[in-house]
Amino acid sequence: MAVTTTLPRRVAGVFGRRPLFGALGALVVLVAFAEVALGPVRLGPVDLFSVLIGNGEPGPTAILLQIRLPRMVLGLAVGMGLALSGCALQGVLRNPLADPGLIGVTAGAAVGAVTVIVLGNFFIGELPAFVRPYALPLGAFVGSILVTGFVFTFASRSGGTNVAMLILAGVAVNAIAGALIGAMVYISDDQQLRDLTFWSMGSIASGNWMSVAVTSVVAVASGLFLLRMGRTLDLFQLGERAAFHAGVDIERQKRRIALLTALSVGAVTAAAGPIGFIGLVAPHMARLIVGPAHRHVLPAAALIGGALILGADLGVRLAVPPSEPPIGLATSMIGGPFFLWLLMRRMNRGGGNA
C-alpha cells in the first residue's frame, strides 16, 4: 500500500515518516512533563518520581495527583479527541474547514451540557441512578449528535464540498446555540451563572478525576476507532459516488463517523467546555508534516492536538501566575488568525474547493 518513494515535496518526503512521528511523540512527552512540572510550585524530576512510587511529601503529592496529573490527562484527551474529530469531519465532508467548533458541533454539545447544568435539578432525579453521574457528558453527546446529524444531511444536500455553505450553516447553528445558551444563562441562579461563565470559556482545570476518567475513556475509545478509518477517509476524497465504486459502504461509514465524532466532541466539551479551533489547526499542521494520507494524518493530528492543548494551557498558566485564564481563550487567539489565514490562502488560489 505504501508508495513511499513517490511522495511530493513535504517534510515527510525529506525525512521519512518514522522520525517525524518520533519527534511528535517526543514533543508530546516533553509538553506533558512540563505540564506536571511547571506552575506556581515547581516540581523537579525527583519530586515527580518519588510521588509516582508512592513516596512523596504531602504537598507535591496533592499538587501532582489532585491538580496537575488529571489536568494533563484531560488535556491530552481533549486535544486528541478534538483533533481526530476535526480530521474525520474534514475528510468525510471533503471540506478542509470542517472544524467541530466552526460547524456548530461543539455548540450543540455546549447547549446539551448547559441544559444539564441549569435545568438538571428538574430531571436528574428522574434518571436511573447509574446514569446520573454521566448526565453532563450525556447531555453534551445528545447536543453534538443532533448537530452532526444536521450537518451531514445538509452537506450531502449541498453537494458536500461547498465550503461556504457549510460554514454559513455553522454560523446559523452557532447563533441558535448561542441563543439557547443565553436563555439558560438568563434563568440560571448566581452559582450556576458563575459555573457556566467559566465553563463556557473552556478549561482543562477541572481537577476532578471522575470527569477526567469519563472523558478520557470515551475520547480514547472513539479515537481508536477513528484512527482505523484512514483508508475509508482517503477514499472519500474521490467523492461519495467514486468511493462507493471503490467499495466503501457510504451511508454506514458516514453514520459511524458522525457517531464517533459526536461522542468525542460531546465528552470533551462536557469536561472542558467549548474549546475552538484545535480540530481545525491540528489536522492542517499534520497534513503539512506527514502528507495527505489519512492513515498518517490521523495519528499525527492526535499527537499535535494533545501537544497544542497542553502547550496552550502552559502558556495561559505561566503568562499571569498564579491566576489561570481559561485555555479556550488561548486556542481561539491562535486558531482565529490561523482560520483567517486559511481563508485568505484559499481566496488567493481563487477556488472554493481546492
Binding site: 513517490t6 511522495l7 467499495g247
Partner: protein, 266 residues
C-alpha cells in the same frame, strides 16, 4: 455476465430509462452511444449498482447487483466517472494506491501501480501532485486508478470495467490510447462498457454498439451494421453521412450544411 433486464428509472416525474435491456459478456467491449440526455450515464450507473431501478433488475454473474455489499461489488466491477474528482493533495502514485486492497503486499502493489501508470502514459508523473496535472492527464490518472482496482481484485478475469465518456477530455492520440486500453482489458477477459460520444471510436473499437435515444434502446449490434446514415440522422436530428470501405470500420461524418465554410470568409 453483466445484464440489465428491462429496467425503468425516473428522477421525479421525468422517466430517464424505459424498459432498457443490455448485456455485457466477459471479453467483450460494448460502446453505449446516443445523443445528450438519452440515458447513457443513467444506464451505466444502474449497471454499476448505484441504485435500484424502479422496475427491472441488474444482474452481475446472476446475482442482483444492488443486493451485493459495496466491498464485494468493488471486486467485480470498476467504474470511471464522467468527471472524476479528488479533494486531497495526493500524488499520482498515492491516487492509484487508493485502489489497492489492504492485503496486497507493497512490492506487488508498487509493480501494479507502475504498470498501469505506464499503460496510460503517465509513468514519469508518479511522484507529481495530481493538482498540477492537466485535465486530460488527471483523467488518465483516474483511468489508471480504475484499472488498478480491476487488476487488484482476486478474480481479474471476470471483472467488469465501466467507463463513462473516458475520452471526452483527451486529445485525439490519447483518445485512441484510451480505447486501446479498454480493448486490451476486454482481450484479457474483462467485460467492458464504455459510454462514448465519438461514434467513430465506437465503430472502430467496440465489438457491439448499443444505441440509445430518449430513454430507450434503439439498436444493439456491431457498429458496421447499426450505424446507418438514416438512423443516425434521425436520432441526432442532424444530417449524418456514413462512409463504408471494405474491411474497415464505417466512418461517420457530420454534414455541416450551408453555415459552415471551407475557407476564409469575411
Amino acid at each position: 455476465m453483466l445484464e440489465a433486464q428491462g429496467i425503468t428509472v425516473s428522477f421525479g416525474k421525468t422517466t430517464v430509462l424505459r424498459d432498457v435491456s443490455l448485456r455485457v459478456r466477459p471479453g467483450e467491449l460494448v460502446a453505449l452511444c446516443g445523443p445528450n440526455g438519452a440515458g447513457k450515464s443513467t444506464l451505466l450507473a444502474a449497471m454499476a449498482g448505484d441504485f435500484q431501478p424502479e422496475r427491472g433488475q441488474v444482474f452481475i454473474e446472476g446475482a442482483i447487483i444492488t443486493g451485493l455489499p459495496p466491498a464485494e461489488l468493488a471486486r467485480r466491477r470498476a467504474v470511471l466517472e464522467q468527471s472524476p474528482s479528488l479533494s486531497a493533495g495526493f500524488s499520482v502514485g498515492e491516487l492509484l494506491a487508493l485502489s489497492i486492497p489492504r492485503d496486497v503486499p507493497p512490492e506487488q502493489a508498487d509493480a501494479l501501480i507502475a504498470r498501469k501508470l505506464h499503460s496510460v502514459g503517465l509513468a514519469d508523473r508518479i511522484g507529481d501532485n495530481c493538482q498540477i496535472l492537466s485535465g486530460g492527464q488527471r483523467h488518465r490518472a483516474h483511468l489508471a486508478r480504475v484499472l488498478v482496482q480491476l487488476a487488484a481484485s482476486d478474480t481479474p478475469d471476470t471483472g467488469y470495467l465501466m467507463l463513462d465518456e473516458p475520452t471526452s477530455s483527451l486529445d485525439i492520440a490519447h483518445q485512441i490510447t484510451t480505447m486501446r486500453i479498454a480493448r486490451r482489458a476486454a482481450r484479457e477477459g474483462a467485460g467492458v462498457l464504455v459510454v462514448l460520444h465519438d461514434l467513430n471510436l465506437a465503430a472502430a473499437f467496440a465489438d457491439r454498439v448499443a444505441l440509445m435515444h430518449d430513454g430507450r434502446m434503439v439498436a444493439d449490434g456491431p457498429g458496421a451494421k447499426i450505424f446507418t446514415a438514416d438512423r443516425l440522422s434521425a436520432i441526432y436530428e442532424t444530417e449524418i453521412a456514413v462512409e463504408r470501405e471494405d474491411g474497415q470500420a464505417p466512418r461517420i461524418l457530420p454534414v455541416y450544411g450551408p453555415d459552415a465554410h471551407a475557407g476564409p470568409e469575411l
